[in-house]
Symmetry: C2
Subunit: 213 residues, 2 copies
DNA sequence: TAGGATTTGTGCGTATGTATT
DNA sequence: TAATACATACGCACAAATCCT
């Protein structure tokens, strides 16, 4: 990978994370010049990153105004969640990956971190762990297009979840998440990828219900 | 919509169509300077369009070499088709749209053009009609994310279909397509969107089988 | 209403990378 | 191997749009 492409990926992932963790809340104005200075580049490569984020709906650039972090339309987001649930289930049916010891070890690591989180619940750490569990779920299918689309939708809804956290009981959410991890581990140890996918779908569904509550 | 955004959309759709209709075949080198001159802009806005096409996997820019139209990896494409089939079916389940007289009239227009095509089969006209029928199918769901993702996948596989046409019997393909149009019309006149979606899925499945021959 | 400050969008010269002779 | 040609990537200066005083 070229040096330029490497930098592009780095800046893109950095900005995407800041947006999805609400470091850059909806409506915030991002300055090309400021960000370029922070990352030690000129505006040109940075604008290339912002263009991508704009194509993905995370920011919107307005001539003469600035680049604004988009707000999330709730009605649209519930539709996105509907679709995410279907894709999550498809992970178990389309080109399922082999359940390797490495995969199980990775999941064990997540379970352990879930336990640590339960001892000291904290929204931001929870969001990160959730994000990593999502990435883990993608590894369960060999269908690259499915992974791409799932990722696209995930980062489109990730902010909703973090915004809803203050209205939920954090400790309860962590407990539910730990149960999902445990259930997933049981399914994968049994080599049942489809079961793992159904568990994922079920938990997304219940999570949406709690958020809409 | 701003003038700049309008131009962006125009250039993007023009280049996407050229790539998907194989006017720009895989491997072809696109010149930023030449395209910019053709569309009467400088290289800067054109590069913005190429960046988007690159993010979508239709071209690949290499420093010092040029911007190349990507080739399609067949094994990956069959996976994309797997996913397209699932999404096509979802159109009948997620936020189904109302079957309006306007929609039926639009479909009748497609049926008529299908008949005209049958009288004088021609691959390029077929490809265009196919593309319009796809767009029609998107109108059947109100789930915007589902429309976006379906479109993304469609334009990623459209070239495969056109490349396979020489290996198939064009007149047969047109006949099959006309039957799909007729079946779809029957389903929608009965107000059965889910049936229409299943027909679509079935025909994508059979089309893939013929292409893989 | 006017004008200045600030922002993104554009155009172009140059740097850098690649392929060919 | 070196030189030449030519492509994209980059940085900067300026144009155009918007906002605030």
């Amino acid at each position: 990978m070229s040096e330029a492409a490497e930098r592009h990926r780095r800046l893109y992932e950095a900005l995407r994370e800041r947006i999805c963790l609400l470091d850059y809340p909806p409506g915030m104005r991002l300055s090309e010049a400021t960000l370029a200075a922070e990352f030690g580049t000129s505006r040109t490569p940075l604008r290339r990153v912002l263009a991508r984020l704009e194509d993905e709906g995370l920011v919107r650039s307005l001539h003469g105004v600035g680049t604004l972090v988009t707000d999330v339309d709730l009605e649209e987001m519930w539709q996105v969640y509907d679709l995410r649930m279907e894709l999550a289930q498809l992970v178990g049916r389309l080109s399922p990956a082999a359940v390797t010891p490495e995969l199980l070890a990775q999941l064990s690591g997540l379970v352990e971190r879930g336990a640590a989180l339960a001892r000291r619940p904290e929204a931001r750490a929870f969001a990160r762990l959730n994000m990593e569990f999502f990435a883990f779920g993608l590894a369960l299918t060999a269908n690259e297009a499915l992974r791409d689309l799932s990722e696209r939708l995930y980062f489109r809804t990730a902010r909703i979840w973090l915004k809803s956290i203050p209205n939920l009981v954090l400790a309860d959410e962590v407990d539910i998440f730990r149960r999902e991890l445990a259930e997933t581990e049981a399914a994968l140890r049994a080599g049942d990828l489809e079961a793992a996918a159904l568990i994922r779908r079920a938990h997304i569904s219940m999570s949406v219900a709690r958020m809409r509550g």
